[in-house]
Amino acid sequence: MRARLAPLLPWLAIWIPLGICIAQVVGFTLYTLWISFTPSTLVPEAGFVGLRNYQLVLATRNWKTAADNLVIYGLCFLAVTTALGLLLAILIDQKLRGENLLRAIFLYPMAVSFVVTGVVWGWLLNPGLGIQRLVNDMGWAGFRFDWLIDRDRAIYTIVIAGAWQASGFAMALFLAGLRSVDSDLMKAAQIDGAGPLRTYRRVILPSIWPIFIAVFVILLQFAIKTFDLAMALTGGGPGIATLLPSIVVYDFMFQRGYLGRGSAAAVMMLLYLLAVLVPYGLFRRWRAAKAASA
């Protein structure tokens, strides 16, 4: 009996949890999709209202602000985090002493909860108490760093806090990539007389470009679903200046009791995610096809 079960065991161990995961993710996605077409308010209701929920959400100022913010935040967060992560990785890659300690320090923010990050940065960026005050008290009286309360710049404070938190993670990925580069390649570049900057730019970085794609995809999906960080840091404010789509979804569903409209907003968020993931998937297929034909 046991002997006959043995070959089945790996299948059972993989497929049962995987099946549950798929049922949860796909099942609840479909459920949300269904709710978004119903007139649901406080609780889910049957019925069909077509695209009305979508039209109502798209017409609100809150959604427009949130959609614009997502583009600004997503792009800036991606650029800053990637640049910082890469810089840290390259610096650490210089065979430093105490590398393990530094790596742990840079990775540490990732272990902190987003809410904690948001609250701490909220105080640091408070112009009357935090960084601005510190610099003012040191003698630079004219120094201004009041982005947190500036309606046009508050969204960048979320970028700062997000980048602080995630760049260590990007660093770890890049570092793994840098370490995987064949040392013969570097030696060859050195023999050919390339300086360190040129070696990185022309030899090492091009050879680890798949890592860049991985970092981009991970960071982008991270950016799109950012919620707790913004909630704790700005609460969507000043006013509604730093709303993000995830906050709008939460606001509609749970603050205003519009389950239908909240679901419609959630489905639109999923579309954003697909807009990132589908090109990536196509790109991978294209690469695989190219590799196969070569």
């Binding site: 960026l125 309606r151 404010g237 006013g239 749970f254 205003r256 009791g257």
Partner: protein, 423 residues
Amino acid sequence: MLSLNRRQLLAASAATALPLGAARADVKPKVTVISQWSAGSDGAAITALGKLFEQNGGEWIHNPVPGFTTDMMNKLRAQILSGDPPAASQLKGPEIAAWSKIAPTVNLDAQVDAAGYEKVVPPELVKLHKPFGHWIALPLQLYRLNTLWCSKKAMDKVGATELPKTWAEFNALATKMQAAGIQPVMNAGVRWDNGMIWEIALNGISPAAYRKAIMELDDAALRGPEVLAAFEQTRRFTGWMDPNVGNQPYASYIPKFLSGDIGMLMMGGWVQGVFRGAGLQYSDYIVGPAPQDNGKPAFILNADAFIFWQRKEPEFKAGQELMAKLVMSKEAQKMYSGITGSVPVRTDMDLSDATFSNQQRETSAALGKSVQSGQVVLSLAHNMAQPNQITAAMLDVLTEFVHDKTPPKEGQKRLAEAVDGVR
């Protein structure tokens, strides 16, 4: 050999317990309660209510969901959808009527009649808790929002001894404080705080216009001169607030209030409980009604209540009965308000006891006078005047207005348009 099985053992122990009070044949009353009150004076008050319930022979299970009222509603929704509603939950304002449509509630008419409760509760509250002709929820405590708290030290610095009675006096005092290097108005960066100062301004200008514009959503009133004046007054407030406050709660700034670096705070009576928790004495502040231009007492009402959800189990039915009895009782209301700084819902209570402060006595007297003069209105920012959808749309505009540089006229237009969008 004597050998007892489990059932015999249980019967034996029950028999010995019988004379000790379990003589009644009925079940032990039990309630499951969910609320947002988890910490501070709110948490202490509901814990004390639970103790009282247990002293009266019941079993009390409280599951707090910290945060805003709407966060508590998420748990309530989940429990209702799964067919396991709590025996009682906190709920307030028009949400009582809205939620009573999605799950059956307990009809409390007989108990309310027996207690003679309807006659001693302010009429504005009766409407909210008896939405479709039946009592389904019981108010527990109430607060006046339009309450002004002035730092004693800040008042001393500018030589002021009395609270301003009109907005003109308020503005003069604030200007004086600002000239003396004091931040005149204490503020938090959160939505409801932004909405609340606006509604206090409007109520102070005209409770009649407040009723028309906020409670009845009358378009002419929303576009009228009183609402514009409220936006103008709010614009003045923003010039007196700390512009550096981000998403931080007002309580973070209590030390500055105590030291006299912040002059005034406009907020409901719960501040008393929060101040006490922060170590302030009654002598550290002067408190009273916020400015009222027409000179007659007015009252922006915010009340907390319990709604009772239908359960079949006999222990829950008994528990709900006991809890309703307690919530309506003078004893429980005195204890509860004594901890939180609110005013009991019953208007027939004697507040001369040391449990209460002068603030509570003054508020309670103001309630009686405001009921007589028809100047009791319901709070928008605290979800009493409108259902959540409308409240949220209006608060969006008000919080934007507090944080941007929009002229008052533009703010008023946006508010009227937002109401048009959700009406």
